[in-house]
């Protein structure tokens, strides 16, 4: 649907359909992400490996092996050359996505507990990681040095994300707060929520960096304007009270919010109307992670232990 005002007629919603199921992991898949150039799809799993798939042919290309424990999150660099994975073995690994050997270029050590979330900044010279040790660390990509250690929260950090120009980091945590940090100094600029009732399981900036999408473990997704400190939209209908299910913006053909859910489905909501427009079923366990292709109308979703697959959905033309 075109992003027009509520009065105008918009073209009818074209539903997404299941295209393919990718099997390859031997344990729960924890994260799936398309590369920024759209050519590759990476999936990370509790089986300690990252698998690279071709996003056009949907075939398995390589398996990146090296971690000694399961992997919780992964991130692509802006030029799609490098992948960073965050693992329960307390390290982060930077992999060269182009090399056929699937070698690990660097290992970042420093966290004292499971590393749970990771992201590159848009310039891709910094990596931010959040961990069960309640800190956020900012690393320099080139040398692997840790530039900042931020004592961010009082419970595990579940999500970290840079904004559009890399000057801000948003972090969410089980302690129920969502905070915004200044990258250069590591100081806290704002706290969005202080709600002790619901843990924040996921937080992400909008593509233009003005809004933050926050998921809380009371089956709610909210879109906040962080400068005013007020939320503008609420999205409900899915189930999310245990796992850190990721959600994302779909902007290739109309504006939607896409999220996984613990009832094994992937939900899509219209961004403006807040109505649920589709529920994609098929997984046999919690759909923990979703990712939208940067240019095509494709969504990838990953599910936990009972399912262990990555499903690709595409929109009818």
């Amino acid at each position: 649907m075109a992003s027009s005002g509520s009065g105008q007629a918009s073209p009818p919603y074209r539903p997404y359909r299941h295209l393919k199921t990718l099997r390859g992991h031997e344990n729960a898949v924890s994260c799936v992400k398309f590369s920024n150039d759209g050519n590759l799809l990476a999936s990370a799993s509790l089986d300690k490996t990252v698998i690279l798939w071709s996003s056009s042919a949907l075939t398995l290309l390589r398996r990146l092996v090296g971690h000694s424990e399961g992997i919780s999150d992964l991130a692509w660099s802006s030029d799609s050359h490098y992948i960073c994975s965050a693992s329960d073995d307390r390290t982060l690994r930077i992999w060269d996505a182009r090399s056929s050997a699937g070698e690990c270029v660097k290992t970042l050590k420093g966290h004292s507990n499971f590393v749970f979330c990771v992201n590159f900044n848009p310039q891709s010279n910094l990596i931010v990681s959040g961990s069960f040790d309640e800190t956020i660390r900012i690393w320099e990509v080139k040398t692997g040095k840790c530039l900042h250690v931020i004592r961010a929260h009082s419970l595990p950090v579940t999500s970290v994300h840079f904004n559009r120009d890399g000057s801000l980091i948003v972090s969410g945590s089980h302690d129920g707060s969502c905070k915004i940090w200044d990258t250069a100094s590591g100081t806290c600029l704002k706290t969005l929520l202080e709600d002790k009732t619901a843990a924040v399981s996921f937080a992400k900036f909008s593509p233009n960096g003005k809004f933050i999408l926050v998921a809380t473990l009371n089956d709610t997704l909210k879109l906040w304007n962080y400068s005013t400190g007020k939320f503008l939209k609420i999205y409900t209908g899915h189930v999310n009270n245990v796992y850190c299910v990721t959600s994302t913006f779909s902007v290739t053909n109309g504006k939607y919010i896409v999220s996984g859910s613990e009832d094994h489905c992937v939900y899509l909501w219209d961004l403006q109307q807040k109505t649920m427009v589709q529920k994609l079923g098929g997984h046999s366990d919690t759909a923990i992670s979703v990712s939208c292709h940067p240019s095509e109308n494709k969504i990838a979703s990953a599910a936990l232990g009972n399912d262990r697959t990555v499903r690709i959905w595409f929109q009818d033309t």
Partner: protein, 513 residues
């Protein structure tokens, strides 16, 4: 940008040394347009490009032909090229992304300063100020040079030594003349040894206007603010003068031409030039230190033109004076006891970078104080006590307003998540040009047997890649400032709050040799 949530109450100028960068002996520095990269020229002929965000080295431009000290570095407008001038009389133009040399020109004399034409992204013209002669325009592709006139003799164009030219400090008549381009590069503003500012049209090699500086002493530096509205001159009489540019930013040359036409009535060419000059620049402010009467070095504007900084030229001290544009001295920054040789203000942030004689580059920034109200979303910091007036129903058992307090935001309003706002600080950027903001960071592969160490880069950041390694606070042998007790990477096992602590002492930092 995050401007909306940064506390506006903090002053906009730096206060303390935040960090220093070390790589060989650096001599001169320049920021790219957005301040994301810092180029530094070294005494061994190399040019190092620092990634200012990570404070690590992004690239090194090495030329085996050039081993003489670099005298100046200059970026092209969108950061694709760098011009380097060296003590072996050469000018080298580099392509930044590839790290390849494009051209190398040898001049008659060592250029002390070289500036690329600011109007285009791949400039071929540059302005060079040699050691002891008039500034020249160099065409880097053709290798040709055009000497610019620096005085207005009554009869002949070109350099004619004048016998009434007395200079109080005994320097020879044509001591380095300072010159710079205006904002779009259609005019060259030169300050000569007679204390005159000349506006030169370099295409026709003609002086178009002249503004005499009171006192008539040698002008050592001349520089524009980033928006082209103010011009700064540093003279031998220890005064920094600010002039307001009356010509429009774009098409300044054309406007100058229009002025010329109206003055045709006056016969004396010098008077005519002065009359035109008075319409181009007016004196705005003068800065000097009346007490110590010190000479200034490397004065320049802040990125937004609101502040002026100048370094003290006295040997043995590293002092930076900050004035606001109205002329009030707001701060004196004192660094370690080493002479200051270069100074720049970051184009966007309140950060100042200075180079000392020992070759270290100091980064001055604001002293970060934790904004405690950032941690509690409902709290607001007040400047002073405010009388609290309670609501009518505040102490009611069921206040009326509670019920409607839920959301005063219209949830049906359309939210735009895609449009990006233009950054007002860079309003003159031509959107069709691709600007080079950062160099791709390629991670150095870990060496297998040294998985625990990280590769030592030359900034002073401490290695903390070992999990659980304590801070190495012990003085490291190559001279770290010892009151950087809290380098940004410490894993502070005991402290409750971690932030980048900086010692606020301004009275000079003791330096361990």
């Amino acid at each position: 940008m995050n401007a909306s949530i940064i506390d506006p109450l903090q002053g906009d100028f730096p206060e303390v040394i935040e960090e220093y960068l070390e790589h060989g002996v650096m001599k001169c520095i320049a920021f790219n347009r957005r301040g994301t990269l810092l180029a530094a020229g070294c005494s061994d002929g190399n040019c190092v490009i620092w990634d200012f965000e990570t404070r690590g080295i992004a690239k090194e431009l090495r030329d085996k032909d050039c081993v003489a000290a670099i005298t100046s570095v200059c970026w092209s407008k969108y950061g694709h090229r760098i011009l380097v001038s060296a003590a072996d009389k050469s000018l080298t133009l580099w392509d930044v992304v590839s790290g390849e040399k494009i051209t190398r020109t040898i001049l008659q004399q060592t250029p002390l300063q070289a500036r690329l034409h600011p109007g285009s992204s791949t400039p071929s013209l540059c302005l060079a100020c040699p050691l002891s002669s008039a500034p020249i325009i160099v065409d880097l592709n053709a290798g040709s040079t055009t000497v610019l006139p620096v005085s207005i003799p009554d009869v002949n164009p070109g350099l004619a030594p004048s016998s009434r030219n007395k200079i109080s400090d005994g320097t020879p008549p044509f001591s380095p003349t300072a010159a710079c381009f205006n904002k779009y590069g259609d005019l060259v503003y030169a300050g000569n040894s007679k204390g005159e500012i000349l506006l030169i049209d370099y295409k026709s090699v003609q002086v178009r206007a002249m503004v005499p500086v009171s006192g008539g002493s040698v002008i050592k530096n001349i520089v524009f603010s980033r928006n082209g509205q103010y011009l700064l001159t540093n003279s031998n009489d220890r005064t920094i003068r600010i002039y307001e540019n009356l010509l429009p930013s774009k098409d300044g040359l054309k406007a100058l031409g229009d002025l010329n036409v109206t003055r045709d009535g006056i016969d004396d060419s010098v008077e005519k030039l002065k009359a035109v000059g008075s319409k181009c620049l007016t004196l705005f402010r003068e800065f000097q230190d009346a007490i110590t009467k010190m000479h200034w070095k490397a004065p320049c504007f802040s990125g937004d033109g609101e502040w002026v900084i100048g370094g003290s030229a006295s040997k043995g001290e590293h002092k930076i004076y900050i004035w606001d544009r109205a002329g009030h001295l707001v701060k004196i920054l004192e660094g370690p006891k080493e002479a200051l040789i270069d100074l720049v203000w970051h184009p966007v942030h309140p950060i100042v970078v200075s180079v000392s004689l020992t070759g270290l580059v100091y980064i001055w920034a604001k002293d970060y104080t934790e904004n405690w109200s950032a941690f509690a979303p409902d709290f607001k910091e007040l400047e002073e006590n405010e009388e609290y007036v309670e609501r009518e129903d505040e102490f009611d058992l069921i206040p009326e307003t509670e019920k409607v307090k839920e959301s005063d935001v219209n949830e049906d309003d359309e939210v735009d998540i895609v449009t990006v706002e233009k950054d007002s600080a860079f309003s003159d950027s031509d959107m069709s040009q691709e600007e080079l903001c950062f160099l791709p960071a390629i991670p150095y592969p870990d060496v297998p047997e040294q998985q625990d160490k990280c590769i030592e880069s030359s900034s002073k950041l401490v290695d903390s890649n070992n999990s659980g390694s304590p801070i190495s606070e012990e003085g490291r042998p190559n001279g770290r400032a010892n009151n950087h007790a809290s380098s940004p990477l410490e894993e502070d096992a005991g402290a409750t709050r971690l932030k980048r602590k900086r010692k606020p002492s301004e009275k000079g930092m003791e330096f361990q040799a």
